[in-house]
Symmetry: C2
């Protein structure tokens, strides 16, 4: 077995998890060409003293065949027996039906607790596959190989897995950390433009919630980022993962309220996605509109000035992201409010929002007057507010 | 609010769990009339500093209305807002379909991370409800109120939750510990005879795997147990829970192999249940037949003598439990072997069995010749073995 080729421009970020099992900590490898090292990485992580000898790849059908094939080749080169399952691309795959199909497939392939499950693709396949891995045989070893910007900067790190119900996004899921994440930025070169921009919404989010300096860097370098300059992209992914890892380490299970900051814009976004129908808005598009709403709500409450709202608007626009959701213009705001009340951060149906307090800092705000939320939604959706 | 009435004949057994959250440890309260203390117990366990103010009971439709009503009354007396959902009794309720229905119900009831989910009933409702609680909103606080002997001595303690697939029992699930277990032995007085005997199979198991003295006590006191003498029943539940808690504390997630001892007889049993069709054999009946097979397998391998097999047979028979499965007499043994290969303890399709080494002690044995397993199955099922 030859050693893996790891590019000199790769970075490793460690996610250090507390708890009874210190070995739940894991590494996110980010770089150009790092996919070739996947098999060696898996081989080096035995489970309960059993070396990895078998893996099942679950690949998004939208993933370039070359990415799934590269993952397979790397596993096989490391002597790991590999089979591949495919799921349809798109948010609608995060369903009970698709989870049930994968559970059956794993049963028929006789997957056991030493079979490593490897998600190759975007956030949808990662979330769905992670949930299936978390729950089959009460938990299989799991790896993330994100091939979209959204997955590399956000969804593949941190252990949140889940599927959607008709009633709301991610309502069913588990915290299930991967044994490792391999984020090969080369896979982003061929990502469709709309998908690429969608991922940038989460990048802007990290600047807004945690790092004013990074926000400033994005303002200055928006052009290089949009041109997918390799150095700029590597920095964007690396900085985003480092910021997220720091939050996840301190509040893995969303207990202290700290991890909730990552949901900036998401209470609005989930309601937009649920109401528009899964897949109409890309997740990042909904997050961009949600952040525009959240910033306006913070301004109405006197937490931030109009200058911060304007800077966020400008950065989102310069990255090709929407601020409004005209596709929802005929949706009554009360319907969106009802979906928001089912949000996982809600307590007894009362809305809690993550709102900016200054650039690079947010707080959890409860007890907000629904009519104010309604007014903000009305502006955003260009729809009428019910009396 | 009046303090709960706790019978003087109650026992508390603590399940001490290691890990980042020491507060995952919990108490199993066992006794006559302890159901009245449920509300106070839940009220005294805040989640993330939020006091319990809301609970959703999931009750088995076979549970006497009086048990579910008593649980409701106790919660309401403690000032906890309560709603009740019902699931059909029987193994077939442990399905993806029923889990999906409960997830939707919870969404429509706007359950949030401070809504306590309380399973009232037997092992089926506990396993199903626990899985739904583990996965809705990535985990809700969960309580077990077992009302069958099987659930009180076994399934309600230890955090294993799950549902069945067509391909096998409990293939999908999660480790999700309850915040507490309230086992009121009064509920056993009205338990149908076949259900009662089914639970005794797990009780015999505890003696066989961990406690020769308890096994001897059961031999001596089989008549009092079958007559449901209150003191005998209290001791049976208490001793079984104490033995199980000790194992769960030392290997919560079935990693070291220690917890696998609890699966004595279960590799065979799961195959019988899966093949006969869920619900044809009660779980305990399948476990009794499975233990009869496992003991014979151990004898064939020279691990134990015929005397141990005979003592186990006699005790099972004196407790009204079966040793053979004539309902499966036309099932080819190879079909059962194929189901066993998908067992969660299997590694790469190779069978591992928990087998007795002496009374009160078992070990995990791998690499057993399938033709030997086949011969044991043939005796047990009274069927022909394929060449």
């Amino acid at each position: 077995m030859t050693p893996p080729t790891v590019s000199s421009s790769s970075r490793s970020i460690r996610v250090r998890l507390a708890g009874d099992a210190a070995d739940r900590s894991y590494t996110v490898v980010i770089g150009s060409g790092v996919l070739g090292g996947l098999g060696a990485a898996i081989h080096s992580r035995p489970t309960d003293s059993v070396n990895a000898s078998r893996a099942i790849i679950v690949a998004d059908s939208a993933v370039l065949v070359s990415h799934a094939a590269a993952a397979e080749a790397s596993l096989q080169a490391a002597g790991i027996d590999t089979q591949t399952l495919t799921v349809l691309a798109g948010e609608s795959a995060k369903s009970v039906t698709e989870a049930a199909r994968l559970w059956s497939e794993l049963a028929h392939l006789a997957a056991d607790r030493h079979t490593h499950i490897v998600a190759v693709g975007g956030g949808v396949v990662g979330d769905l596959t992670g949930f299936v891995a978390a729950t089959f045989a009460r938990g299989l070893p799991f790896w993330q190989v994100p091939t979209t910007l959204m997955a590399q900067v956000d969804s593949a790190v941190g252990g949140k897995t889940g599927i959607n119900l008709d009633a709301g996004k991610n309502l069913v899921g588990a915290f299930w950390q991967p044994l490792g994440v391999v984020a090969d930025v080369n896979t982003l070169a061929t990502l469709p433009e709309r998908e690429f921009k969608s991922g940038l919404a989460e990048v802007v989010k990290y600047g807004m919630i945690l790092d004013a300096q990074f926000f400033g860097w994005l303002e200055t370098n928006a052009h290089s980022v949009m041109a997918r300059d390799p150095a700029a992209i590597l920095y964007v992914v690396e900085r985003s993962v480092a910021l997220k890892a720091d939050v996840v380490e301190r509040d893995e299970h969303e207990r202290s309220g700290l991890r909730a900051v990552l949901n900036y814009g998401h209470t609005f976004a989930h309601a937009f996605e649920t109401t528009a129908g899964y897949g109409v808005l890309l997740h990042g598009e909904a997050v961009a509109i949600g952040m525009a709403c959240a910033a306006r709500l913070a301004m109405e409450l006197g937490h931030i000035g109009a200058d911060i709202v304007a800077r966020q608007d400008r950065l989102l626009e310069s990255l090709g992201l929407p601020l409004r959701a005209p596709c929802l213009r005929h949706t009554p705001a009360e319907k969106l409010l009802a979906v928001m009340a089912r949000d996982k951060k809600a307590v007894a149906g009362r809305l809690n929002f993550v709102l900016p307090e200054r650039l690079g800092h947010v707080g959890l705000v409860g007890g907000i007057d629904p009519s104010l939320v309604c007014r903000v939604l009305m502006q955003s959706l260009l729809s009428d507010c019910p009396a």
